[in-house]
């Protein structure tokens, strides 16, 4: 017998269910308990960096757009620094939260984030990631929140050396992580849960 390693198990996940908005974005459902829904604004007038918007939908394996999701994003500021006490590499722009949450339009299911384009972030071994935004998707029927990243299609050189993008075996699936700019700072990023063009999800 050896000594025991006493480590706790993580609390198991359960689906967010169809009524996640009551708890996380109550104003969206007409429940007027809080002043505003958390994560509904990431920037203010003084935020540094290139203003962008991201819109998209979450689509199931039958090709139908979900209208009961909650999508969260987390990202670095324009200099590649996160607004978090855990950030070890510098102090982030105080006018940028880095975190956004969207319930999507109740009719169209379309989520939208008004944010800034993040700077590059170094990986643990010092190599630079291409600019990216972490996405986390929950909904009825999703048993464990889905983690993925949005990269920027125009960052051809940075994407070509990104430590994660270059590690993906099915390189033909990499475009599922690339958002296209319409030329006016508006990006489209659809998340396909299953089937043709299924988004690459991360176990991280």
């Amino acid at each position: 017998m050896a000594q025991k390693i006493k480590r706790l198990n993580e609390t198991p996940s359960q689906t967010a269910g169809p009524y996640v908005h009551i708890g996380c974005t109550p104003s969206f459902t007409g429940i007027d308990v809080y002043n505003n829904d958390l994560g509904d604004s990431m920037v203010n007038a003084n935020t540094l960096g290139e203003r962008i918007s991201i819109t998209g939908t979450v689509v199931d394996g039958a090709g139908m757009v979900l209208r009961d999701t909650m999508v969260e994003i987390w990202q670095a500021d324009a200099a590649g620094v996160h607004n978090s006490p855990q950030e070890t590499r510098g102090v982030a722009d105080p006018n940028f939260t880095g975190w956004g949450r969207s319930s999507g339009n109740a009719e169209t299911g379309q989520f939208r984030f008004d944010t800034i384009k993040p700077g590059r972030v170094a990986s643990r071994d010092g190599r630079l990631f291409a600019p990216h935004i972490t996405f986390w998707i929950v909904a009825r029927g999703i048993n464990l929140g889905l983690h993925t990243r949005m990269y920027f299609a125009e960052e051809v050189e940075a994407n070509a050396v990104d430590p994660i993008l270059t590690r993906i075996e099915h390189q033909n699936r990499v475009p599922t992580l690339l958002a296209q700019n319409d030329g006016k700072g508006s990006y489209r990023f659809d998340i396909i849960l299953q089937g043709d063009n299924e988004t690459i999800f991360f176990d991280i």
Binding site: L8, E10, V20, I22, V33, G61, S84, R124, L144, D203
Partner: protein, 242 residues
């Protein structure tokens, strides 16, 4: 001086799988491809922070936070309390815990909800708290009712409270559900049953704690939450360039 050298990998056999044929909605919402596994980096080891100053005075009290002045929500009054820790038992301070639930009749305040049990005009169904320096939280509510839902012909959800939890890192982000000790409906529910082991399910069942009960007022249930832990290393355990 120790440093965070990355989060423990998530045990995917402990969590429910994406696909479970008894929970029908998961069938078209589960990815087919294996997820891409990699270690956490600074993008996942950081996360948003929430200050106490975002909280209103009644955010932790679902009995009053939607009620008309002088009114109270209907149902069995309960206190839910517990501690948010990481896998090494360290309390997580400043964790935002958001909760939502049905009313005592099993009805949610939501336009997509059509169960015939009535709405309670004094119950909204949402609350939120931020853990103290040791990771403790507490809120007050009414015990939610069970309710039927469209899945198989006669499926019912056990009484439950939904929890959304932020730790210190986005890698710790978690949504789950709390159940109540002694509820026979727990073992009938296909959503509960998406979790592979009975041992894991039991960690979602809050214990009745008579010692924390407020006499002549509210019973108490204890629900501890464990978020992912991280490797605390004294030295860099990976050399530059490797």
């Amino acid at each position: 001086m120790t440093k965070n050298s990355g989060y423990y990998h998530r045990d995917r056999n402990w969590h429910p799988p994406a696909y479970d044929e008894q929970y029908k909605t998961s069938i078209t919402r589960s990815p087919n491809f294996a997820p891409l596994s990699f270690s956490t980096g600074i993008s996942e080891e950081t996360g948003p922070t929430f200050n106490q100053n975002i909280l209103g005075p009644l955010d932790h009290d679902l009995i009053q936070n939607f009620a008309q002045p002088g009114e109270l929500a209907i149902g069995p009054r309960i206190i839910v309390y517990g501690r948010v820790t990481d896998q090494d038992g360290r309390g997580i301070a400043g964790a935002l815990v958001e909760v939502w639930q049905a009313n005592a009749g099993g009805r949610y305040r939501h336009k997509k909800e059509g169960y015939l049990a009535p709405l309670d005009p004094n119950f909204g169904g949402c609350g939120r708290v931020i853990t103290d320096a040791d990771g403790n939280y507490e809120f007050r509510t009414v015990q939610p009712g069970p309710y039927p839902w469209p899945n198989r012909a006669n499926d019912w959800r056990p009484a439950h409270i939904h929890f959304s939890v932020f730790g210190h890192a986005f890698a710790q982000r978690l949504i789950t559900q709390m159940y109540f000790e002694g509820d026979p409906m727990i073992w009938q529910c296909p959503i509960v049953d998406t979790i592979p082991s009975k041992k894991a399910i039991k960690t979602l069942i809050a214990a009745l704690d008579m010692d924390r009960t407020v006499p002549m007022d509210a019973r108490a249930y204890k629900f501890d939450i464990v978020l992912r832990g991280n490797r605390q290393t004294v030295f860099e355990n990976r050399l530059e360039g490797l």
